[in-house]
C-alpha cells in the first residue's frame, strides 16, 4: 500500500506547479488552466485524506469542488470571451488599464 504521503507530496507538487503556471503564463486562458490544476491538486489531497481517515466526506468535498470548478469555468470563460472581444488580446500583461 502506497503511503498517503506520496499522494500528498504529489498533490503539493501539482499545486505548486499550478502556482508557478499562474505566474509563468501570459495567456489568460492558460492562467485559468493553472488554477484548475491547483484545484485538481486539492482534489487529490481530499481523496487521499478521505482514504486516510476512512471518511467518505472527503470525496464529497471533491465532488463539490468539481462542481465549483465547473461553475467557475463557465463564468471565467465568459469573462475572458468578453474581454477578448473588447480588447483583442488575451495577454494578461497587456491588460493593465487599471493601475497605480
Amino acid at each position: 500500500m502506497v503511503s498517503p504521503s506520496y499522494y500528498l507530496t504529489l498533490s503539493a507538487i501539482l499545486f505548486g506547479l499550478g502556482v508557478i503556471g499562474f505566474l509563468f503564463k501570459r495567456n489568460v486562458i492558460t492562467l485559468f488552466m493553472s488554477i484548475e490544476l491547483m484545484l485538481n491538486a486539492v482534489n487529490l489531497a481530499f481523496v487521499t485524506f478521505s482514504r486516510q481517515w476512512s471518511e467518505l466526506s472527503g470525496q464529497v468535498y471533491v465532488f463539490f469542488v468539481i462542481i465549483v470548478a465547473a461553475a467557475e469555468a463557465a463564468v471565467g470563460l465568459a469573462i475572458i470571451i468578453l474581454l477578448a472581444r473588447n480588447r483583442q488580446t488575451l495577454n494578461v500583461e497587456r491588460i493593465n488599464l487599471l493601475k497605480l
Binding site: 499562474f22 505566474l23 494578461v92 500583461e93 491588460i95 493593465n96 488599464l97 487599471l98 493601475k99 497605480l100
Partner: protein
C-alpha cells in the same frame, strides 16, 4: 479730614480731567478744554495744599497714613490692595508734582495754542498727573509700579505727541522700551521682596527690613536693592539706560519740562528714597547707587558741554542733575536727594519752559548756533532763564546752591572724597554749559535771519508761570538756609521720620560739621564761578575760540558731540544683532526651515512612501499574484516555523 479719608480724590481729579478731555475734548472748544485740564490740575494742587494742612494736624503715631480702597490683585496668599498712603515724603512729592504740573498746564495753554491735538495733549497731561500722583501715593510696590508704568505710558504718548514725525514716534517708543528694561528689574525686585517678606506694602516690608541686620556682603537685600535700582536707572535716565531722555526732547517743550525734567524722571530717586531702609541695610547696593549717580552726573555733563540743541543741553543737564540725586541717596543723604529733587523741579522746569519760550519766540528754532542776542527782545524769558541758570549753577543763595551743596557735603563727609571731587567737577561743568547756553542764546549777535524771524515775547499765560517758577527757584532752597549759620535743614528735619538719617553724621561734632559745611560751600561756589568764567571767556570774550578748540581737539570733541557713540553702540551691539537673530535665525531658520521643515518633511515622506506603494500597483495581474505568493510564503513560514 476730608482728604485724608478720601485720598483718592486727589487721583480722581486729574483722571476725570483726562477722561473728559480724552473722550469728548475733540468736540469742545479750546476754552472748555483749558478749563477742564487746568481746572483739574489746579484743583489737584489745591487738594494737595489742603492735604498738607490736614496732614500737619496728624499725630505722628498715625504715620504713615494708609487708606485701602479695594483689593486689586488677590491670588492665593498674595494680596495687593488699591491702597494710598501719605507721609512726609509723599507730601513733598505731591506738592511738587501738583504745583509744577499746574504751572505747566497753564503755560501749555499758550504754548500749544495752535496745535490740532490740543484736547489730546491736555488729556495726556492730566493722565500723566494721575499716574504720577498714584506713583507717589501708592502704599505698596505693585501699586507704585502701576504709577511707574503709567507715567511711562504718558511719557510715551507725549513724546510721540507729534506722531507724524518719525523721530517723535521713534523717541516715544525708545523711551518706553528702555524704561521697560528698567521695569524688568523693578518687577523682579518686587517678586524678590514678596518672596522674602511675603508682603509688598511699604509698611510691612520696611518694618521687616529694619529688623534685619545690615548686610556686609551681597545678600537678598542687596539683590532687592540692585533690582529696584535697575528700575530707577531706567526711569531716572542714569547710566547706562539714559539714552531715551535726550531723544525724549522730541515731545512738546512743556512735556519736557514737566515729565522729563521736573517730575517723572525723578521717580527713580523717589523709589530709592522710599526704599531707603533697604538701601541702608544693603551697603553694596547703596554704593552702586552712588557710583552710578556720580558717574552719570559727570558723564552727562561732559556731553552737555558741546550739544547745540537747546533742549538737548537741558536734557543732558537733567541727567546730570539726577545723577546728583542718586549720589545723595548713595551716600545716605536721602533727604538731600529729595531736596535737590525739589529745587531741580523748580529750576529745571523753568529752564525748559524758558527754552520753550525761546523756541516759541524764534518760531520753532532749537539750534543755539542760530540764536544769539535775544536778551532784549524777550526780556522776561531772559530774566527768568538767567535766574534758573544761576540756580542750577549753584550761585549762592539760589536754590540749587543749597541742595547741591547738601549733596556734595554729604559725599565728602561720608568719606567718599573721590565722589565729592567728581561732583565738584560736575558742578564746574554744569556752570560752564549752562552759561554757554545763556551766552549763546541771549548774548552776542543774532545769528539768525532777523528779517525772516519775527522774534516776540511770549504771551502772559506763558510768562507768568515762568515768573512763579523763577521765584521758586530762588526761594526754594531757603528751607536749608539755616544751615549756613549752623541751623538745621528744615526739609531734612521734616523728612527724617521717613528717611534714614545718615549714619556717618554720628561721627562728627556740630561745630565741626558747620565749619566743613562753610568750607565746602565755598569750594562749590568757586567751582560754579570757574565754570561761569570759562564760559564767559570762551563765548563772550573770544567767540572764535570754541571752534578753534574743537578743531584742535577734534577726537574728544567728536566723541562728546556724538554722545560717546552710545546710541550707535547699542544699535550695533543689541538692536541689530537681535533683529538679525530674530529674522534670519529664529524665523527663517528655526521656524521655517527646521520646524516647518520637519512637519512638511514628514508629510513629504508619507507621500513618497505612498508613491512607492503606488508603484507596487503596476496593474499587472501577474505581479499581483507574485505579491500574493510573497505573502503566502511569509505567512506559511511564520505560522509553521515561528509560532509554537
Amino acid at each position: 479730614m476730608l482728604l485724608l479719608e478720601h485720598l483718592w480724590i486727589l487721583l480722581a481729579l486729574p483722571l476725570a480731567g483726562a477722561a473728559a478731555n480724552g473722550l469728548f475734548g475733540r468736540h469742545w472748544s479750546k476754552r472748555t478744554v483749558d478749563a477742564v485740564a487746568v481746572g483739574a490740575s489746579g484743583l489737584a494742587f489745591a487738594a494737595a495744599l489742603e492735604l498738607w494742612r490736614e496732614f500737619a494736624q496728624l499725630p505722628a503715631a498715625e504715620l504713615p497714613w494708609v487708606r485701602s480702597y479695594f483689593p486689586w490683585i488677590v491670588a492665593g496668599e498674595f494680596r495687593a490692595d488699591f491702597a494710598l498712603q501719605v507721609d512726609q515724603l509723599t507730601l513733598v512729592m505731591v506738592l511738587v508734582v501738583t504745583g509744577v504740573s499746574w504751572l505747566i498746564h497753564i503755560y501749555s495753554i499758550g504754548y500749544m495754542a495752535g496745535d490740532t491735538g490740543y484736547a489730546r495733549f491736555f488729556a495726556y497731561l492730566n493722565l500723566f498727573l494721575f499716574f504720577m500722583l498714584l506713583l507717589v501715593m501708592a502704599a505698596n510696590y505693585p501699586l507704585l509700579f502701576v504709577g511707574w508704568e503709567g507715567v511711562g505710558l504718558s511719557s510715551y504718548l507725549l513724546i510721540g505727541f507729534w506722531f507724524l514725525r518719525k523721530s517723535a514716534a521713534d523717541a516715544g517708543k525708545k523711551a518706553f522700551i528702555v524704561n521697560r528694561i528698567g521695569d524688568f528689574g523693578f518687577l523682579l525686585g518686587i517678586f524678590l521682596l514678596y518672596w522674602t517678606f511675603s508682603a509688598t506694602d511699604f509698611r510691612s516690608v520696611l518694618a521687616a527690613v529694619r529688623l534685619l541686620p545690615v548686610e556686609t556682603e551681597a545678600g537678598v537685600l542687596t539683590a532687592i536693592g540692585l533690582l529696584l535700582l535697575t528700575g530707577a536707572i531706567g526711569k531716572s535716565a542714569q547710566l547706562p539706560l539714559y539714552v531715551w531722555l535726550p531723544d525724549a526732547m522730541e515731545g512738546p517743550t512743556p512735556v519736557s519740562a514737566l515729565i522729563h525734567a521736573a517730575t517723572m524722571v525723578t521717580a527713580g530717586v523717589y523709589v530709592v528714597a522710599r526704599s531707603a531702609v533697604i538701601f541702608v541695610h544693603a551697603p553694596l547696593a547703596q554704593d552702586a547707587v552712588a557710583v552710578i549717580g556720580c558717574l552719570t552726573a559727570v558723564y552727562a555733563a561732559t556731553i552737555g558741554l558741546v550739544q547745540t540743541d537747546i533742549k538737548r543741553v537741558l536734557a543732558y543737564s537733567t541727567i546730570s542733575q539726577l545723577g546728583y540725586m542718586f549720589l545723595a541717596c548713595g551716600v545716605g543723604a536721602f533727604a538731600a536727594g529729595i531736596f535737590h529733587l525739589m529745587t531741580h523741579a523748580f529750576f529745571k522746569a523753568l529752564l525748559f519752559l524758558a527754552a520753550g519760550s525761546v523756541i516759541h519766540a524764534l518760531g520753532g528754532e532749537q539750534d543755539i548756533r542760530r540764536m544769539g542776542g535775544l536778551r532784549r527782545k524777550i526780556p522776561w524769558t531772559y530774566g527768568t532763564m538767567l535766574v534758573a541758570t544761576l540756580a542750577i549753577a549753584g550761585a549762592p543763595l539760589f536754590s540749587g546752591f543749597f541742595s547741591k551743596d547738601a549733596i556734595l557735603f554729604a559725599a565728602y563727609v561720608s568719606g567718599h572724597r573721590l565722589w565729592w571731587g567728581l561732583g565738584t567737577l560736575g558742578a564746574v561743568l554744569t556752570a560752564f554749559y549752562m552759561f554757554r547756553l545763556i551766552f549763546l542764546v541771549f548774548h552776542g549777535r543774532p545769528r539768525f535771519d532777523e528779517q525772516a524771524v519775527h522774534v516776540h515775547e511770549s504771551p502772559r499765560v506763558m510768562t507768568v508761570p515762568l515768573m512763579v517758577l523763577a521765584v521758586l527757584s530762588v526761594v526754594g532752597g531757603w528751607l536749608a538756609a539755616p544751615k549756613l549759620w549752623g541751623g538745621a535743614d528744615l526739609l531734612e528735619r521734616f523728612l527724617t521720620p521717613v528717611l534714614e538719617a545718615p549714619a556717618w553724621l554720628a561721627g562728627f561734632a556740630a561745630e565741626e560739621l558747620h565749619a566743613l559745611e562753610l568750607l565746602l560751600s565755598g569750594a562749590a561756589v568757586l567751582a560754579a564761578a570757574l565754570g561761569f568764567f570759562a564760559a564767559w571767556w570762551l563765548y563772550l570774550r573770544q567767540p572764535g575760540k570754541p571752534a578753534m578748540l574743537a578743531a584742535r581737539y577734534a577726537a574728544p570733541y567728536q566723541l562728546l558731540l556724538n554722545k560717546y557713540y552710545v546710541d550707535e553702540l547699542y544699535a550695533a551691539a543689541v538692536v541689530r544683532p537681535l533683529l538679525w537673530l530674530s529674522e534670519r535665525v529664529l524665523w527663517q531658520r528655526v521656524d521655517v526651515a527646521v520646524i516647518d521643515g520637519a512637519a512638511n518633511g514628514t508629510a513629504h515622506t508619507a507621500r513618497r512612501l505612498g508613491e512607492q506603494l503606488r508603484r507596487m500597483q503596476s496593474g499587472n495581474a501577474r505581479s499581483y499574484a507574485a505579491w500574493v505568493i510573497f505573502g503566502a510564503a511569509i505567512v506559511t513560514a511564520a505560522l509553521v516555523w515561528w509560532v509554537q
